[in-house]
Symmetry: C4
Subunit: 277 residues, 4 copies
């Protein structure tokens, strides 16, 4: 076990040890340090903050109605970019640090220790493989987006908070990839098909199922998931008014994204409400 | 009173006695043990777990908005398959173990002990009689399903969580069975008419009234009731978008149901939120 | 002060005195006992229960979203049928026994004691004058009913819980009675015009304003107000489905009302949730 | 530092000093007393009440769903009419007295003390400059109003609570003023363009963004923001019914506004719920 890189960080040793103890006591085994082969780079303290943020993301998404008992959120490992963190198979609202597991890009749990995995972890593994710019992924069944996934009407960005939609939100039709299935992206082949439809976009709807949302950081992917939901509801309402609707121009969206697309102020609020101190 | 089968179970004697005492103190008389004729098989410990689950189901359905002050949920007795458990006439949100009563398949309370019965208990008795595969039944007035019960537009499965709808959700028109009524299924004749319309389906809407949902287990019938509600809302939204809507294919639904249709992960979450420890 | 009728009641003297003390301490002066002319019959203990129920009704209507900061609920005095009880001018959610005042049928507060009155108390006074069958009245601005008050589309009973709508829910157009006004029913003349439009119906919508709902008892008028709201939402949803909609037949409604129209089971639940013990 | 005017007020010296201490301890520096040039009139105790009300307004708007993590509310300084109070850049739900800063009418913070400012403070500065009748301003992204900002369908007053809409709610199209932008009113030029579109109206929608609402007092602007939201939802529902809709006549609206447009009763309730004592 190489602790040197950790010691080099700015995190005081005492603080680090306390956090390790907490994580281990809570059942979060930093498996990456013990994994036999191939030996990944040692975990950075960032990975511990990442676990905190990932737990927060689970709670926030549940509190904001993006996920119910189903759906999941993952984050790419800070240093071991061929690894990602994802909870064991449990409702997002109940996720604690002890539930967070490490996976490789084939969707194998590194140290399962008897914990069961989400059937659809291949959504995450295949997108991390295909998209080096993506560090966080949400899979959800948010009610408001289901009608758009089933309809020929496409999502359009109705206001600045959901401007990322201007980049395009394709619909994944699992029949194209797998014919008649049980609708689940439960193997690498279907995961790759989904990643191909997603391409370089920030999100894709999944017909009859839900959506996948990606981002560079956990706060970004959480913000996108929340405002994807709001946009779906508001676009439906705008259509029902039966007037002409003006959506964001892609140039307006690009400029807003460049300056403001990280949802930082919202992240602080969501976290405070989902995890009271 | 034959206690032998109970003693043979894996439940320690001390635990069993404590639970019996609790149930009896709370007013839940395991009447099946005392009933005169025909003598049913003795209650299994399963029946006690069933009471816990039935109380949980009542609270969950209230918390999730499936029922308000009206509506009820029952479960077939674990061993005495010609008996079922149903609360006395009280709002589901207030049901405790003490309110759970035992009924025969004619809708007679075995040991009422002065407690009043739901007027529409015949919904339950007649469906248990007609459907040996059904072990749990919900009757509800969930708002979202009322428009579909009153409309010529039929429910269709819009996503995997409500895939059971692909088997068909017929509409019970009480006028066909009883002409002008007070709308209530308050006797065996109307209960039989409803069971005939339900046939082998997982649910039926009742025009101007609500729905009946059935399943093999309590978690399944609770999950179906919750996602019947979600589906009704989402299908209405999809229709309002005025594009073409693609619903689940019956083969997709069949495959998902076979692998995942039990809502187990959700049941744990719902129970934890409805009955805090 | 004649206490004899009160003493004749089944309420033990000690209990009665304690409640009087509570009411008086809380500022509820049983003014009817002191009023000079015409001397009304002495208050029955029923009036004290009525205050409890009226406070509960205010809290329930706020909790269920029927009223926000505006709206009010009154009850006819149990024995002095030419008097009614109504809170001073305060948001329903904040009403306590101390806020309850007594009014005559001209809308005059019997013992205001410096407390201000709702501007629209004439809604109540004129309906009590015109409808001897009415013992409780709600005036509300419930959001869901506003579109129906403004539209040429009429409310119809979509399910058994709102069957009373089958008797008819006329729309009061204040322009017919008063031309251009500030929209408020703030005098006896406008109150009489509203009572005439209401006629013998259970409720009337008020264009650009809200509704008035009446009933024989407080639980009935509260239940009708709550399910008027639900019906408005569900009817709008049924219309949006664009199929043919079957509403309750007036004979079905009449039969249901006769047997079940009192919302007693719901009242117990609503009260328990609005006023925790 | 001139304290004389403050001492002349009706506020007892002891009370005033206590409140100053509280405010200063909390980080609210009454900067107006220290500002060098041009020396504004000394702050009145009213400014301290104003801070309380401004904090309450932030919490109320968050609680009522008018703002989420974004949006802001300001108030013109009671005596220094060329100054206004606005929180530092933080989610409205989290605002405390310590976050309230003072700005001049060019949008410069008088004593930032390291605190960051909302990018869109120019919405406030330019409207206060143009509208001497306005003492409070809300900027929000309330979901229900977004469809109306994007649609050719205009807001109309559907009931008395939102009668102010009868004065007109224009839509600000930022493309007219700035061509392709990042959608934010982040400088004086865009602020002036918005103020020009607002003209003498009580509110303006901002296409693809949200709205600005103005009023003579904080309770008025909060009430208008809340009922702008309700009106948007109800007007959309009325349109969906597909009957003919009758909106408030401008004369009805004018009369209601004159007598009742201050939302005082609601303000007391909102405050009590948003800031429990």
């Amino acid at each position: 076990m190489t602790t040197t890189p950790l010691m080099q960080s700015r995190l005081p040793r005492r603080h680090f040890l306390a956090r390790c103890a907490t994580c281990m006591a809570a059942g979060f085994v930093p498996s990456i340090l013990f994994a036999r082969q191939p030996p990944p780079p040692p975990a950075a303290p960032g990975a511990l903050d990442l676990v905190d943020d990932l737990v927060a993301a689970n709670r926030i998404l549940a509190r904001e109605g993006v996920v119910d008992a189903y759906g999941h959120v993952s984050a790419r490992h800070t240093r071991a970019t061929n690894r990602f963190l994802l909870s064991r198979s449990v409702a997002p609202e109940l996720v604690t640090a002890a539930d967070v597991m490490e996976y490789d890009l084939e969707g194998h749990a590194v140290s399962p220790a008897g914990r069961s995995s989400y059937l659809e972890r291949f959504i995450h593994s295949e997108i991390y493989k295909a998209r080096s710019d993506v560090n966080a992924i949400v899979h959800c069944h948010t009610p408001s987006i289901i009608p758009f996934g089933a309809s020929t009407v496409r999502l359009q960005p109705i206001y600045l908070m959901s401007s990322f939609i201007a980049k395009g939100v394709p619909v994944f039709e699992i029949r194209d990839a797998g014919g008649m299935t049980d609708m689940l992206v439960s193997d690498g082949r279907l995961g790759r098909a989904l990643a191909q439809v997603l391409a370089d976009k920030p999100a894709a709807l999944m017909r009859g199922h839900g959506a996948v949302v990606v981002g560079q950081t956990i706060p970004t992917v959480v913000g996108r998931s929340i405002y994807l939901d709001v946009n779906a509801r508001l676009q439906a309402e705008a259509i029902a008014l039966e007037g002409k609707v003006t959506y964001l121009d892609s140039e307006e969206a690009r400029r807003w994204d460049a300056a403001n697309g990280t949802y930082d102020r919202a992240w602080e609020l969501w976290k405070r409400k989902a995890i009271p101190k």
